[in-house]
């Protein structure tokens, strides 16, 4: 009896792993295809797509496409621009959205529920619907910098950062997480003399690790993959992010090998960032039931 049960258990385990491996393969193969193709000359790359060779490092393998990609576009500059824009946005987004969520969950103020509803309602509005009005506004906003007062935010980092710092999804993630924190922890801190700011900084935020990781990853992905908005607001090469840089490779003749090399290069930071925060990300998704 015990042996049969053990066999069943083993079979179930094997089936489960087989399904997981299959799913993993489906998700990993595009990445493998991208990296393998980046190592092949265009002609071989195209002919390989008809067979499994597309996923294997076979034939005329070299790093030529990478050197060519660097020659064709200022890859380093684009990556740096994206890292600056993404990094600053993620940082400020975590600060501002968590503070907003704190006010929604822990502070009592008139109109709180209505404002939160309005913010959550923005989740269903596609960016494309307000991209043009946003562009018009951004083109006329004032800014005080090293050059004194200037008008219009186009061709800058700030135009890529500031409109995306606060967003409904990030606030929603924080609100859900904060609601699950035991209320007595907050009350204990209040009775012990903590101000609301101290409750936020010393109690709530140190306990928000998982949601910080989730929000950071989701924001990072959105910002790193920005294409339409920077295309609209940045004409100068000096502020262009990586996704817009992809245009450099879609000229009259598309050099697919170079495209794949460029994509491989710009995917690396994303993978590194995800792997770094993976554990906390999964913990948060599992505990809040919020899908990424």
């Amino acid at each position: 009896m015990a042996a049969i049960s053990a066999d069943n258990h083993g079979l179930r385990l094997w089936t489960r792993y087989a399904v997981l491996v299959l799913i993993a393969i489906i998700f990993v193969f595009p990445l493998v295809f991208m990296v393998m193709s980046s190592l092949k000359p265009d002609q071989q790359l195209l002919s390989d797509t008809a067979s499994l060779r597309a996923f294997l490092p076979v034939g005329d393998i070299s790093f030529h496409n990478y050197t060519a990609a660097f020659e064709r576009a200022p890859v380093g500059l684009f990556v740096m621009n994206s890292v600056i824009v993404t990094g600053i946005t993620v940082l400020f987004s975590l600060l501002i959205c968590s503070a907003a969520a704190f006010a929604f969950v822990f502070l009592n103020w008139k109109g709180r529920d209505l404002v939160l509803t309005l913010i959550l309602a923005t989740l269903i509005v596609p960016f494309e619907t307000y991209a043009i009005p946003l562009l018009l506004i951004a083109s006329k906003l004032p800014w005080i910098g090293f050059d004194g007062l200037t008008w219009g935010w186009l061709n800058s980092y700030r135009v890529q950062i500031i409109p995306f710092i606060a967003d409904g999804l990030t606030i929603f993630l924080f609100v859900q997480y904060f609601k699950d924190l035991p209320g007595e922890l907050i009350e204990a801190a209040r009775v012990e003399g903590a101000s609301w700011y101290q409750v936020y900084a010393k109690i709530v935020m140190p306990l928000a690790g998982p949601v910080l990781a989730t929000a950071a990853i989701l924001k990072f992905l959105v910002m790193y993959n920005q294409y339409l908005w920077p295309l609209m607001v940045v004409q100068e090469e000096g502020y262009r992010p990586v996704m817009v840089g992809l245009q450099y490779f879609f000229q009259l003749n598309v050099a697919w090998g170079e495209v794949m090399a460029y994509l491989s290069l710009i995917t690396l930071p994303v993978l590194a960032f995800y792997l770094y925060l993976q554990k906390a990300f999964i913990a948060s998704i599992a505990s809040t039931g919020v899908k990424g």
């Binding site: 007595e184 009350e187 204990a188 209040r190 009775v191 012990e192 003399g193 903590a194 101290q198 109690i203």
Partner: protein
């Protein structure tokens, strides 16, 4: 140190009135216990004193200050919560020192005060641990440590022992009692456990439906309950209540009887009675004694259940009226199920309540 005065305190959530005009005076250094069934408003009242709930109307005074509109931190209170509410990301030392850190105390001061609190609560060896490494009782010690380290004028305990097992609960109860004697601070303690109330309190406040039923010393409440609710709530096992007919009224001497109860004259402490009317007779299970001669007892019935606890035997007796009474009889004794039993009581030790 400070006394507390609650003057006509009320609390409403919209149209729902939770606290309906409460007047309580807590003397400086007194240990007051709020008891009552779930939903009676005792925790809400405590949270209002702590400043965690707004006061709808009335005046709350701590020491000589009216604190209605003061935030919790300015009220000079410390609170121990049922769930311990210790901060999971801090060590025990950091938890205990939290209030001092917030107040900007120096490192030396913090260390000295934390060490003193740890010594009082015998938890010196736990100071560098995380809350996740502590048992329930140890966590509650940390929560109490955090409360005493600031030397507040008033301690508030919100069912602090509810999450502990029975043995630990008794230990911690005694420790809290000792703590009160050591610190001499004003303490308000909320519980639904009347044993905690009876053992710890200088004064008990019995609450029901947001209203005070009676305030008094534990034995005063036990021996002179103001109404049937208090009488039933204080004492374990609970007081037996019998519906009786009023046979004769002679001043405050009332003669009552029912089909299971021989006529007996009771001295009523309160209420008004008329001959031919109804009343409720309250008899504590400990005040019932078995009679060997069936004719000599006042209550007659059959044994329905027996619980032999060694030091006492709890017997459930079904009376002729169908009503059951519980008798807590001294020492171990055997009462066969279904056997007839006759119980007697001293008329001066029972309570009569008007309908």
């Amino acid at each position: 140190m400070a006394g507390i005065t609650l003057n006509d305190i009320r609390k409403s959530y919209g149209q729902v009135h939770v606290i309906k005009g409460v007047d309580i005076t807590v003397e400086d250094g007194e240990f007051v216990v709020f008891v009552g069934p779930s939903g009676c408003g005792k925790s809400t009242l405590l949270r209002m004193i702590a400043g965690l709930e707004d006061i709808t109307s009335g005046t709350l005074t701590i020491g000589d200050r009216t604190v209605n509109d003061l935030p919790p931190k300015d009220r000079g209170v410390a609170m121990v919560f049922q769930s311990y509410a210790i901060f999971p990301h801090m060590t025990v030392r950091e938890n205990v020192a939290f209030g001092l850190t917030i107040a900007g105390a120096s490192k030396e001061e913090k260390e000295a005060k934390v060490a003193e609190a740890a010594r009082i609560l015998q938890m010196e060896h736990l100071l560098d641990r995380r809350p996740s490494q502590l048992s329930g009782g140890q966590r509650q010690r940390v929560a109490i440590g955090r409360a005493i380290v600031r030397k507040p004028a008033v301690f508030l305990f919100d069912e602090p022992l509810s999450n502990l097992d029975a043995a630990l609960r008794m230990d911690m109860r005694m420790e809290i009692g000792k703590l009160h004697k050591t610190l001499g601070a004003t303490m308000i303690y909320v519980t639904h456990d009347q044993v905690e109330a009876m053992t710890l309190a200088d004064k008990i406040v019995v609450l029901k439906d947001g209203m005070v039923q009676q305030i008094g010393a534990p034995m005063d409440l036990y021996h002179n309950p103001a109404n049937a609710f208090v009488a039933g709530f204080i004492g374990s096992p609970s007081m037996n209540f019998l519906d009786v007919d009023v046979k004769a009224v002679n001043g405050n001497r009332i003669t009552v009887a029912n089909p299971s109860l021989d006529p007996v004259e009771i001295t009523a402490r309160h209420g008004s009675y008329t001959a031919g009317g109804k009343a409720r007779l309250g008899i504590r299970p400990q005040y019932l004694t078995p009679e060997t001669d069936r004719r000599s007892g006042q209550l007659h019935g059959k044994v329905a259940l027996t619980e032999r606890l060694g030091a006492e035997t709890v017997v459930e007796v079904t009376l002729a009226t169908g009503k059951s009474v519980i008798a807590a009889l001294t020492r171990d004794a055997v009462y066969p199920l279904g056997s007839e039993i006759s119980l007697s009581f001293n008329p001066t030790e029972v309570h009569l309540f008007s309908e």
